[in-house]
């Protein structure tokens, strides 16, 4: 009993001591001007993400998930509010935030290797050529692309392209990984495989990240917290569900866990109402 108490205390202490948030969104509002007047997508949205935490965002189509993520990526200007990354407000895009888009958007005229190298050369400009190549190769093998390093991106299958997209983002060792429905366009078999790949990286490297998904099971399987967004316009965070399964995670164990169905129901209930 006393042991448990001490344990809880340490956690509290840690949180207060660190208060280390990798990402802080405060009072984010986003307005798209349209011919029919201003369209307020997000209004006063607040979210804090701890270092090493991985959250997923679910919400109805069109509620503003992509808008939110692209603002964090710096690709879309914020109307009002502030996004703070590791203590400094973000200004524009940068390689410290690895983005994995729904469509992999590789450069089709480059090989898988060159696509990854483009960013690695930039971020690890001080490393030797050999070291940079090794980084690229390491991540490409990690996502299961051994033997396809020199294939042109245009000749890769959709699943392989998305693998390269993941390797490209991971290889930059970003502070935050941003994923916008990364597996949405894949068949369920490939999706499962890539979820496992991502999970392994998260478990091992403790990457901070945000993933948008439409797949309730995927969000439970991968995230520490699931953020549920209300439907737009003026979307906000409606509810948050903590997913406390231990890492490293294992798909089968999670599926068999006693709280799995209650978690799932929680999310589905939110989406249905």
């Amino acid at each position: 009993m006393s042991q448990t108490l001490t344990h809880t205390n340490t956690i509290d202490h840690d949180l207060q001591g660190f208060e280390k948030y990798m990402l802080e969104l405060s009072n984010i509002t986003k307005v798209y001007p349209t011919p029919k007047g201003d369209f307020v997508v997000l209004e006063n949205l607040n979210l804090k993400i701890k270092e090493g935490e991985f959250v997923s965002i679910i919400g109805h189509s069109g509620c503003g998930k992509t808008t939110l993520l692209s603002m964090i990526a710096g690709l879309n200007p914020i109307t009002s509010g502030e996004i703070i990354l590791d203590g400094t407000p973000i200004k524009g895009p940068g390689p410290d935030r690895g983005v994995i888009f729904q469509s992999p958007s590789l450069l089709p005229w480059m090989s898988a290797m060159e696509n990854v190298q483009l960013g690695v050369d930039k971020v690890f400009a001080n490393a030797t050529k050999k070291q940079r190549e090794d980084i690229c190769k390491y991540y490409l093998s990690k996502v299961g692309l051994d033997g396809a390093f020199d294939k042109k991106a245009k000749d890769l299958s959709q699943g392989m392209k998305q693998r390269v997209g993941i390797a490209r983002a991971l290889a930059l060792k970003p502070q935050v990984l941003l994923l916008d429905e990364p597996f949405g366009m894949l068949d369920s078999l490939t999706r499962g495989e890539l979820q496992d790949v991502l999970l392994e990286v998260l478990d091992k490297e403790k990457t901070t990240g945000i993933m948008i998904t439409h797949d309730v099971d995927e969000s439970i399987f991968l995230a520490d917290r699931v953020i549920m967004m209300t439907s737009g316009p003026r979307a906000q965070i409606g509810d948050i569900l903590d997913i406390t399964y231990d890492r490293p995670r294992n798909r089968k164990a999670i599926l068999e866990h006693e709280t799995y169905y209650s978690n799932r129901e929680h999310l589905i209930n939110f989406l249905e109402h």
Partner: protein
């Protein structure tokens, strides 16, 4: 091996040979012989039909012209002269052949004659060069001007000159239009500011360009020892034909896929890297389409420009034959027409092969 050949053949745009290759190697004989018939025999048949139509049309025109001539002679010089002319025409003598659309056979003969002439002129030229080789060496040593061959160029020489001019013009338009197109494509402000100029200059006729260029070149190159007419014609060709490349390059560069630009933004690539690694490769297909149009326009206007500028080449060949009006001039003009067409077609094919080699297709 076979698949490799087929792939290469297809790459060169000769896909219609595929069934024939498969047929020769004994694959699916029935299906492939049917395909080979359809894709090779019918086009060949169409050539025969074309020649037959041409033949009968030129026959018809010649008959009309002969009848007119005979009637005119009858009216002016009496029945005796008319009878004589009629016999002369019937005998097929060159001196009294009606001067109308030549028949395919006459064009073929003219082609043979042009080739023979070329061989004769080429030996003459070689003889001249051999003869003056030592003399010229001495003259050069004494600081005197060398004696150069000034004989008439043959048909083949004219073709070579035209090709030289068109390549010089094409190169010029690449050098001007591609960089300019990139600059305009990168900057919305520049593009909208200069759009009017492009829109106005694009439809200007080759003739006007030629006049404009010769105005300038004549003043600039007053005492420089160069072939002025060559310079004038290649610059005019370049200026006439560069617009397609300019417009396509600027459109290609300005409409790079947003996803690609986002990649560049996220990686914070520098300007140079962004241009060479992302913008240019992604607009290559557009640029190449522009270059193909440019080359074919260049070849088309070249003939007109040579004709007007009196610079050597196929254009002046056609013009001289037209002025010359000898018995086989018309046939030679038709030969030139086919040569111009075939070369234009081949140039486009070469560009297409380059395009396939250098651009990505997604």
């Amino acid at each position: 091996m076979k698949t490799k050949i087929i792939k290469a053949v297809k790459f060169m745009g000769l896909g219609y040979l595929e069934p024939l290759i498969r047929l020769i190697t004994g694959e699916e004989v029935r299906k492939n012989s049917k395909d080979a018939f359809k894709r090779i025999l019918f086009p060949l048949l169409s050539v025969v039909v074309f020649i037959l139509l041409w033949h009968s049309f030129s026959n018809y025109l010649n008959n009309v012209e002969s009848t007119l001539k005979i009637e005119k002679t009858l009216k002016n010089q009496g029945p005796e002269a008319a009878k004589k002319l009629e016999d002369c025409i019937a005998s097929g003598d060159i001196s009294c052949r009606p001067n109308s659309l030549p028949s395919p056979a006459m064009v073929a003969t003219a082609l043979g004659k042009l080739w023979d002439d070329h061989k004769i002129m080429a030996t003459k030229k070689q003889d001249f060069i051999d003869k003056y080789e030592t003399i010229n060496e001495e003259r050069a040593a004494n600081g005197e001007i060398e004696i150069v061959y000034t004989g008439r160029p043959s048909f083949v020489d004219q073709i070579k000159t035209s090709l030289k001019t068109v390549f010089a013009g094409f190169l010029l338009s690449i050098i001007i239009a591609v960089p300019l197109g990139i600059v305009l494509g990168l900057s919305d402000t520049l593009r909208t500011s200069f759009n009017w100029l492009i829109q106005i200059l694009k439809p200007v006729s080759p003739v006007v360009w030629l006049l404009l260029v010769s105005m300038i070149v004549k003043t600039v190159l007053t005492d420089v020892d160069v072939e002025k007419s060559f310079v004038i014609s290649f610059i005019s060709v370049g200026l006439c034909s560069m617009w397609a490349t300019l417009v396509n390059t600027s459109v290609g560069v300005s409409s790079v896929d947003k996803d690609f630009m986002n990649v560049a933004k996220v990686l914070q690539l520098g300007t140079i890297k962004k241009i060479f690694k992302i913008i240019l490769p992604s607009s290559f297909p557009m640029i190449f389409t522009g270059l193909r149009i440019t080359l074919s326009v260049a070849w088309m206007v070249l003939i007109a420009i040579e004709l007007l500028a009196q610079s050597p080449g196929l254009g002046s060949f056609v013009w001289e034959e037209f002025q010359n009006g000898s018995s086989d001039s018309n046939s030679k003009i038709i030969v030139a027409m086919f040569v111009i067409g075939i070369i234009g077609f081949m140039l486009d094919r070469i560009m297409m092969i380059f395009q396939k080699l250098l651009t990505f297709t997604d």
